[in-house]
């Protein structure tokens, strides 16, 4: 008689958390601490305690301080950042809970910055409208220690590839150890995805190709707001960044782009380089067609952005790490005195649709952090994390973890033991390991490079038309089909194969949604529909997969019940 154990290592748990970053750890800890009798397992393709974005790019998180005006913040966000596609109830809920969430981090041992009286240190780091709080880059290792102490079980170097289903319910996941190739079958009554989204902003910080998003999509979960995922930002032509560059670029006539195209942002004293408005990026894009845009290096000073003097950040690990990173500048060509700038973009996708407890459209499945940064709709029509507000990804990850953990643990109490189908697991295993059976074909690194090459040109990724998007989509689908020819020499290569396949799936979701939205809103800019159309498009686009086919639908934003209307 066949049994699952013949296929690989079988683990049973009440709650499975895939991903051990700033979302996954709070979910796991909270699940265990609210339901101590439940088994909670946290799994990561990296070493648990070292994974995710937070140990490198983190450290500053969005926080609504007691002195901030909550209503004014929400109103500003809905009108100027989310463009009315927010779930305004969730935006309120998130904003209200930020301060308490930061305090929870401190209670768990994270060294959250405090003032001389021991009070949580918050300040208007980048904006007059909302505050930030800070912690050092060791927050994940400290959370890891807390998780261990709480009784959470940890499993490192296992990449989750597919979700297991029993009817319409998710009952765990399968994956493999990236070091030794061992196959894992994890039975779980509740599963929380915290594996990050597709994020091509900075490879050095984010090893995320949307593996969890692709797994959820292929299991039938709904996606939302996927068309807004790409991050658009001016940069030095040919690549490279200069601090606060966006605020210091000018045209040949000497007009500064920020002052010309987003004076209202400067008036608000918002110097967050993620805030760039659609009018700004479209303006810069059009001016680039007239002639070069250049960076005024003499204006690149600390007067724009950077912590105000009253915030005495004491984060030695962050200081040490960023000092080390600066050595890399020795290897690149020095910027010329007046460098030319261009519009750059980074592919992103974090669209898993969730409710206010971060539950997806599938029973037994929750999605938090960057897997659902867009799909939760808290931020509306924003790009992927940071979603035009620096520090928001850390806080959104934390909030999602705090809510989903207890909800998933409660649901596990109601759920029966997962029934796993042997034949289905066998099929998934054969598919997963197929690249190891070939000795030639497509290298995953080449597939990733090809996908980057398809979507990175601004005329493909940013300035969109129906014709161009159809061609882009067709090319993405071509790569996705070619992924059947992927080959891997070992389990590390197998991990890269899953990353390449996941990236192709994510990009297909993005462009399917983008084709459907026949208007321009936020960074979804359509040359053939250049205006925002509130009459027809106060709607969310929902993308899902049914029987292997992509199904699109729209859902009106319930604007009548929300406080702020166009």
């Amino acid at each position: 008689m066949t049994k699952l154990e013949d296929l690989g290592e079988v683990i049973s748990t009440d709650v499975l958390v895939a991903g051990s970053g700033i979302a996954g750890f709070p979910a796991a800890i909270k699940a265990k601490e609210t339901s101590p009798e439940k088994d909670v397992l946290i799994v990561d393709k990296a070493t648990v305690g070292w994974a995710g974005l937070a140990p490198k790019g983190g450290g500053v998180f969005w926080c609504i301080a007691p002195e901030d005006d909550l209503d004014k913040f929400v109103e500003y966000h809905v009108k100027n950042i989310g463009y009315y596609l927010n779930d305004q109830e969730l935006l309120y809920l998130n904003a209200k809970e930020t301060y308490g969430a930061a305090q929870q981090l401190a209670e768990w041992g994270v060294k959250v910055q405090r003032d001389a009286q021991g009070k949580l240190l918050t300040g208007h780091l980048l904006s007059s409208r909302w505050s930030h709080a800070g912690a050092d880059l060791d927050m994940i290792s400290l959370l890891s220690a807390r998780a261990r102490k709480s009784g959470v079980k940890l499993l490192s170097k296992v990449q989750i590839v597919e979700l297991l289903k029993e009817g319409n319910r998710i009952v765990g996941a399968v994956g493999f150890n990236v070091i030794d190739g061992r196959f894992y079958i994890i039975k779980a009554k509740s599963t929380i995805l915290a594996t990050g989204g597709l994020n091509r902003t900075a490879a050095m910080f984010t090893p995320h190709y949307g593996e969890g998003v692709a797994a959820a999509y292929q299991a039938g979960a709904e996606m939302r707001n996927a068309e807004f995922g790409f991050l658009i930002h001016p940069r030095v032509k040919g690549g490279g960044n200069i601090p606060n560059l966006a605020f210091n670029i000018h045209n040949a006539a000497g007009e500064y782009m920020a002052e010309k195209y987003m004076p209202e942002v400067l008036k608000e004293e918002i110097y967050d380089t993620a805030i760039l408005t659609p009018a700004f990026v479209v303006g810069v894009f059009n001016e680039m067609r007239e002639g070069p845009i250049r960076v005024d290096m003499s204006r690149t000073g600390p007067e724009r952005g950077g912590p105000p003097p009253e915030l005495n950040w004491n984060r030695p690990k962050q200081t040490s790490y960023f000092t080390r990173l600066r050595k890399l500048s020795k290897y690149s060509r020095p910027a010329p005195p007046n460098p030319e700038a261009e519009i750059g973009l980074a592919a992103g996708c974090s669209p898993i649709r969730v409710d206010h407890e971060m539950k997806t459209s599938l029973e037994g499945l929750w999605a938090i952090g960057d897997t659902s940064y867009n799909g939760s709709a808290w931020g509306g029509a924003v790009c992927m994390a940071p979603g035009r507000m620096r520090g928001s990804p850390l806080m959104i990850g934390l909030l999602g973890g705090l809510r989903s953990g207890p909800a998933a643990a409660r649901a596990a109490s109601q759920a029966g033991s997962p029934q796993i189908n042997y034949d289905e697991v066998k099929r998934l295993k054969d598919e997963m390991f197929a690249p190891l059976q070939s000795s030639q074909g497509l290298l995953p690194q080449d597939a990733i490079q090809e996908l980057d090459g398809i979507v990175s040109p601004v005329e493909n990724g940013f300035s969109r038309t129906k014709d161009r998007m159809e061609k882009v989509l067709s090319r993405i689908q071509g790569v996705r089909q070619k992924c059947s020819q992927l080959y891997a020499k070992d389990s590390h290569g197998l991990m890269k194969c899953n990353e390449a396949k996941s990236m192709a799936v994510c990009l297909e979701i993005v462009f399917n949604a983008a084709l459907a939205r026949t208007e321009s809103r936020a960074y979804h800019y359509r040359e053939d529909y250049p205006e925002r159309d509130d009459k027809n498009w106060l709607k969310w686009i929902i993308v899902k997969q049914e029987a292997g086919k992509t199904v699109l639908s729209t859902e009106p934003v319930p604007i009548d019940k929300y406080k702020f209307k166009p």
């Binding site: 393709k45 990296a46 070292w50 490879a203 790490y321 080390r324 050595k327 890399l328 290897y331 590390h492």
Partner: protein, 71 residues
């Protein structure tokens, strides 16, 4: 991206921290020699996380085309 990852094995204390710190599985552990090695330098993204984490400060990560840091 790709890198030239150098380990000063005379200084290495065999703590394996670099293997943990490498979030993309570029650095592996050689059980026989009991020392780290760059198994997939072609996939290194130059995050310098291993350099930063190493208690003995015995790792130097350089872009692939660079053999030594400029003075």
């Amino acid at each position: 991206m790709a890198a030239n990852i150098k380990f000063d094995l005379d200084l290495c204390s065999s703590c394996k921290t670099c293997v943990d710190a490498c979030f993309i599985d570029v650095i592996r552990w050689d059980d026989k020699k009991e020392q780290p090695f760059a198994a997939y330098p072609e996939d290194c993204v130059l995050c310098l996380g291993c350099e930063e984490a190493c208690p003995a400060q015995c790792i130097e990560v350089l872009p692939a085309a660079v053999s030594a840091a400029p003075q």
